[in-house]
């Protein structure tokens, strides 16, 4: 513990990042450049999220990390351990008990409350990059709110697939102003972005950008009048807890190709099982 | 209708020791509505040049050329364009068109330019082409591939599509057979009857005698001769 400053980063760096975060909160959806530091993990492993978490963390915080909804994957475990060692903060896997939650590619199923902070790891913060590679031009497009190009992407989707096939990284418009990339969360999670009680912070380490959504921000998923946005719906109940409206992972169960669908949010699933809910798989096991 | 007052023109050839060539000097003439006037004179006397000056194709150095009250010499390009669209027609000896455009559209274009509907313009174009004995199978082809005589007739059909109050005709009957020559002369007579003021160059003396009310010998304006 004494080998490091609290939460790894030096105080000057934290200050710089906090300023970026505050600016981001003041201009919801706007990408604020920041001087991303080298972190003791490779890009793509959440360096942006880790720096944001480190900058907002206090010794009293209780920290949770999820990767695709799970608390027990390598990435989640290493980042949790990283902060246990460098900040000495308490950690948890329970969504409701955590004050800071760092996430990769999911929003927890359980609604978050005021006082909680959700930190997203973002690989590519620029939603327009797919069609316009010039950074100078995309910045201008943001500043002038020229977002026709974003709809070109959706147009291409419909013309090719008959419907909007973008199923994650689905672009949103924040408070009627900035178009924002919500990071690669499934579009199933898009409706949770808006009007959320918790603070949402987005950190892109390699791209050196931070952006944010303050509590209760209006967030609208882009669409066409005749092809309205639809969040994906699960085709099955969870095989473990029987939940019918949570985001599911497909799990192959044997070499014969049998499979089951289970909640991607492990904490949510376990909590339901503890509360007595069962799905087809563990119901059978219990029988 | 067409009124030339003290009109003169010189060519300055900057790339040939800046030679200055006087072409016509101090031309004054006037053509009334319903009148057809022939320009005569030997080759090189300046008949075509004078005609092109009246059309605004050649720049005039001095004098006034009034067409229906507008002075071509002083007019802005857009006024000249409007005048050419509405008032002043020109049948040159050469057909100049966008390659690939069907003959029917070439002939209909002057009408489309003054706002005629596509169907009206096409109907009149068909009438004129038929009258000038252009075989119907050629109508959908570009006139760029036609024979000289056919091109000449397409040019005439195009020139007579819109009833211009003033018309300039450069050898309209050259390279035409007797039947087509007759059609063209009757078109000129019809134009006169509706009140068009016409200036023409006709090497065909019989044609000239038939449609022209008077002749103006351009040689009198040729500087070398006049002095």
């Amino acid at each position: 513990m004494s080998d490091y400053n609290f939460a790894y980063l030096d105080e000057q760096t934290k200050r710089m990042i906090r300023r970026a975060i505050l600016k981001g909160l003041a201009i919801p959806g706007y990408q604020v450049p920041f001087a991303s530091r080298e972190m003791p993990m490779p890009y793509g492993w959440g360096t942006g999220g880790v720096q944001v978490s480190a900058a907002v963390m206090t010794p009293q915080d209780r920290f949770k990390v999820i990767d695709q909804g799970a608390d027990d994957t390598t990435n989640a475990v290493s980042i949790r351990t990283f902060f246990e060692r460098t900040a000495g903060v308490a950690t948890t896997t329970k969504t409701s008990e955590a004050s800071v939650i760092q996430t990769r590619h999911r929003i927890p199923e359980e609604p978050l409350s005021e006082g909680q902070i959700l930190v997203y790891q973002v690989p590519i913060p620029e939603p327009l990059r797919f069609l316009e590679p010039r950074e100078s031009e995309t910045r201008k497009m943001h500043s002038l709110a020229e977002y026709g190009l974003m709809h070109v992407k959706l147009y291409e989707d419909i013309s090719r697939h008959g419907h909007i096939a973008t199923s994650y990284d689905y672009p949103v418009k924040v408070e009627g102003r900035y178009v924002m990339d919500p990071s690669p969360i499934p579009k199933f999670d898009n409706p949770k972005l808006g009007d959320m009680a918790a603070i949402q912070l987005f950190g892109a380490g390699r791209e050196q950008r931070i952006y944010a959504l303050p509590p209760y921000t209006q967030v609208v998923s882009l669409d066409f009048e005749d092809h309205p946005f639809e969040a994906s719906k699960p085709d099955h109940p969870c095989a473990m807890c029987g939940a019918e409206n949570s985001y599911l992972d497909e799990v192959i169960t044997d070499d014969a190709g049998r499979r089951m669908f289970v909640c991607s949010d492990t904490d949510f699933c376990e909590a339901r099982q503890v509360a007595g809910h069962t799905g087809t798989m563990n119901g059978k096991d219990a029988a | 209708m067409i009124d030339l007052r003290n009109v003169s023109k010189t060519f300055t050839l900057h790339n040939q020791s800046s030679a200055v060539i006087e072409v016509v000097n101090n031309v004054t003439l006037s053509v009334a509505a319903g009148e057809c006037v022939a320009l005569t004179g030997a080759s090189g006397a300046g008949k075509s040049t004078l005609m092109r000056m009246i059309y605004g194709n050649y720049l005039t150095q001095a004098g006034q050329i009034l067409i229906d009250g507008t002075d071509i010499v002083q007019a802005e390009p857009r006024d000249v364009i409007a005048l050419r669209r509405e008032t002043l027609g020109y049948v040159s000896q050469f057909l100049r068109v966008v390659p690939r455009v069907p003959t029917l559209d070439v002939v209909a274009e002057p009408l489309r330019a003054v706002g005629a509907s596509a169907s009206d313009a096409q109907a009149l174009a068909e009438y004129l082409l038929a009258k000038l004995n252009i075989p119907q199978r050629l109508w959908s082809l570009s006139p760029t591939t036609f024979s000289g005589g056919e091109q000449q007739r397409v040019n005439i059909a195009r020139g007579f599509a819109h009833p211009y109050p003033a018309m300039l005709l450069d050898e309209p009957t050259a390279s035409l057979d007797a039947a087509n020559r007759e059609v063209v002369l009757s078109l000129i007579e019809e134009a006169k009857a509706r009140g068009a003021a016409i200036i023409g160059i006709f090497h065909d003396e019989a044609a000239r005698a038939r449609v022209c009310d008077r002749e103006i010998d351009v040689s009198q304006f040729t500087p070398g001769v006049a002095v």
């Binding site: 026709g148 709809h151 291409e156 | 050649y58 966008v98």
Partner: protein, 256 residues
């Protein structure tokens, strides 16, 4: 009558070198203006200054806007100017690749301007895009194909459709037929002429091809070393050029 575009004293220097100097003219609705000159004569610099792609060192480009009447586009705010270039203005590049999104389908390319001005009905956007492909003689079955699969002439026609779909009033064209086969050029010229007439477009065409301006342009400006040396009716300038350079230019064209 108010000119659609009034260019006044446009001057652009590249360091000590003159790009174009003190160029001015008025363009009226429905007029097509050709600008000719050799490479380096300043014609492209002038075009880019007028279209707002380059910042001129002096001068005004006054456009008769639909809502507020004549406005100087040089001094108007950038958002306004960019809005203008998506609505009432169009720019056709010499190389279709510069004016198209090569990774986006033909329909998406044409639809982009519609979406940029706020159209949000997929069916309508697609119908308009398909209609425009027809107008530029591209088969409707190609609507979902990318321009990379198109020939040079088709790409250029697609670029024109993409530009004209929002019904602009002024089109800037930089060598629109350059680099195309002669037969393809003719088809494109015919198409442009029809569109100009039917839509009442005004256009400014920069080219070094005198045949192109003779067929398309009502008026002509001849440029040399950044200056306009002669201007007037197209056929008058070509048939009776007054300036030494214009005479040289016209007499240098090979007759066919």
């Amino acid at each position: 009558m108010t000119p659609l575009l009034s260019v006044q004293g446009i001057t652009k220097f590249y360091g000590q070198h003159i790009g174009c100097k003190d160029v001015g003219f008025d363009l009226y609705p429905g007029e097509v203006m050709g600008i000719v000159g050799e490479s380096g004569s300043g014609k492209s610099t002038l075009l880019n200054c007028m279209a707002g792609h380059l910042t001129s060192d002096a001068g005004a480009v006054v456009f008769d806007t639909r809502t507020d009447g004549p406005r100087d586009t040089v001094t108007m705010s950038e958002p306004e100017r960019r809005m203008l270039s998506r609505t009432d203005w169009a720019f056709v590049h010499q190389h279709a690749r510069d004016g198209l999104r090569m990774g986006v389908s033909a329909g998406g390319n044409v639809g982009e301007r519609l979406m940029a001005v706020g159209e949000r009905h997929y069916g309508d956007i697609r119908a308009k895009a398909t209609d425009w492909l027809g107008r530029v003689e591209i088969d409707a079955t190609r609507v979902d194909d990318r321009p990379t699969t198109f020939s040079g002439g088709m790409q250029q026609r697609l670029q024109i459709a993409r530009n004209l779909v929002t019904g602009p009033r002024l089109v800037f064209m930089d060598e629109p037929t350059g680099g195309l086969d002669v037969s393809v050029q003719a088809r494109l010229l015919d198409l442009l002429r029809g569109l100009v007439r039917d839509m009442g477009l005004s256009a400014i065409i920069v080219t070094h091809d005198l045949a192109v301006v003779r067929l398309l342009a009502d008026r002509l400006m001849v440029m040399k070393d950044g200056h306009v040396v002669e201007a007037g009716l197209t056929d008058q300038v070509l048939d009776d050029p007054q300036h030494a350079y214009s005479q040289l230019l016209v007499s240098s064209v090979l007759q066919v």
